[in-house]
């Protein structure tokens, strides 16, 4: 299931969703879990989000300031918009420094142990979307 959605997404020509500002369909059949999403965002070795962002996760003392706070992300964007932002932020801003979390093409010199792997899995993307959508203020 996951692999089908994954393969389908990677094979989609950019034009299919590249011009839009959202990805309407979830990447998996299983709904995202906000608690798991929070853990992914908090983990500097998994989500890496806190390298650049701050978020309402007070137990993590060291949070970055290269990017806007994630507080209120769910009020600013719809889950569909958040999904696109995570899958490939470059679709929204070609100069962005935010890594593409669910894209394999267009990357160069990826370390051997990460080759052929997306930063997050489809289910992890859905979990993070669920968490971000819950951040209303």
């Amino acid at each position: 299931m996951r692999w089908r959605a994954f393969a389908a997404l990677l094979l989609l020509p950019a034009a299919a969703w590249g011009q839009q500002d959202s990805i309407p369909e979830p990447l998996t059949g299983q709904p995202g879990d906000a608690a798991r999403g929070r853990a992914i965002v908090a983990n500097r070795a998994v989500g890496l989000c806190l390298l650049c962002h701050s978020a309402p996760i007070p137990e993590e003392r060291f949070q970055g300031d290269l990017a806007p706070s994630l507080a209120g992300a769910g009020a600013r964007s719809t889950p569909e918009q958040l999904r696109l932002r995570l899958v490939d932020a470059a679709r929204l801003n070609s100069d962005t420094i935010m890594p593409p979390y669910y894209r394999l093409d267009g990357l160069t010199r990826v370390a051997k142990n990460f080759q052929g792997k997306t930063l997050l899995t489809a289910q992890q993307i859905e979990d993070v979307v669920a968490y971000l959508a819950s951040l209303k203020d």
């Binding site: 500097r44 070795a45 890496l48 806190l50 390298l51 650049c52 003392r61 060291f62 949070q63 970055g64 300031d65 290269l66 470059a90 420094i97 890594p99 593409p100 267009g106 990357l107 160069t108 010199r109 990826v110 370390a111 051997k112 142990n113 990460f114 792997k117 930063l119």
Partner: protein
């Protein structure tokens, strides 16, 4: 050194990072001239060294020769400078005399071009040429304490002097290659060096302040490593943090980046051997 390629490990949050280092008593204090690029600041130059980004405790540790752990290596390097080695049975001092005179300003102009067939080398590479060609001794292993100690000793002789890369067509080509590597996105995170060190310097990556990436203090004693390390080792850490494939030790890519970064830091004061978190 982590090979896991984990960004969180290579750019570590400062929790527990300022480990207490026992005060190193050298028994002698080397006269140190410290110059904080005051002239540059006054001329509207916005460049800042990694030293300037550090907190007062670490700055103090670097400034105090009895507290800077790199100075222990300098002492070892001073002894190696005077020791005969290799089939030639010569010490560095036999040919170069007093390092305070002969090595003054040398570290500030490397990487430089060595006589053919060697071509462009960095300071460690230059020292190893003297080992193999002039002392007829085996090359010292890259990142070994023996090599770093000699390089720290030679570097100290340029403390406070402005970085002054030489003009040479071979170096120009190397710098161009370095600049290209520096500006190109790479790795799973799809970042370039410039994304952080040019566009986001001064910001916090998790807990770590992103420095402008000037190689003013190498070799450095990095608390994270609990060891002295070369600029190539530092660069490798950033490459691994980007989840890009690190180049082989000794690869031209490190030399190219180093040549570009030294040119970018032209005129800034060399303050090595430094201390970094």
């Amino acid at each position: 050194m982590s090979s896991a390629g984990d960004a969180a490990l290579e750019w570590r949050a400062p929790s527990g990072r300022l480990r207490r280092i026992p005060l190193v008593r050298l028994g002698f204090a080397l006269a140190g001239v410290f110059c904080a690029s005051l002239a540059l600041a006054q001329s509207g130059d916005l460049r800042r060294s990694g030293y300037q980004e550090m907190g007062p405790a670490l700055q103090k540790m670097q400034d105090d020769d009895t507290a800077n752990p790199a100075m222990l290596f300098v002492q070892v390097g001073a002894a190696a400078w005077a020791a005969k080695a290799g089939a030639a049975g010569k010490s560095c001092a036999d040919c170069h005399g007093d390092a305070a005179v002969s090595m003054k300003g040398v570290a500030a102009r490397y990487p430089a071009v060595a006589p053919a067939p060697a071509g462009p080398v960095d300071l460690e590479g230059r020292i190893n040429l003297c080992r193999t060609v002039h002392q007829q001794a085996p090359a010292l292993v890259a990142e070994s304490d023996d090599l770093l100690a000699l390089s720290a000793f030679v570097t100290l002789q340029s403390r406070g002097l402005p970085i002054a890369p030489p003009d040479d067509p071979a170096l120009a080509a190397l710098r161009a290659q370095g600049r290209d590597l520096y500006e190109r996105r790479q790795g799973q995170l799809n970042l370039s060096c410039a994304n952080c060190h040019d566009d986001n310097a001064g910001h916090r990556l998790a807990g770590a302040v992103i420095p402008q990436g000037h190689p003013t203090g190498y070799p450095i004693y990095r608390l994270e490593w609990q060891a002295l390390g070369s600029i190539a080792r530092r660069l490798r850490n950033c490459v691994v943090g980007m989840r890009a494939e690190p180049w082989q030790p000794g690869a031209t890519e490190y030399l190219a980046l180093e040549a570009y970064l030294m040119d970018r830091a032209r005129g800034m004061a060399l303050d090595g051997p430094g201390v970094r978190p």
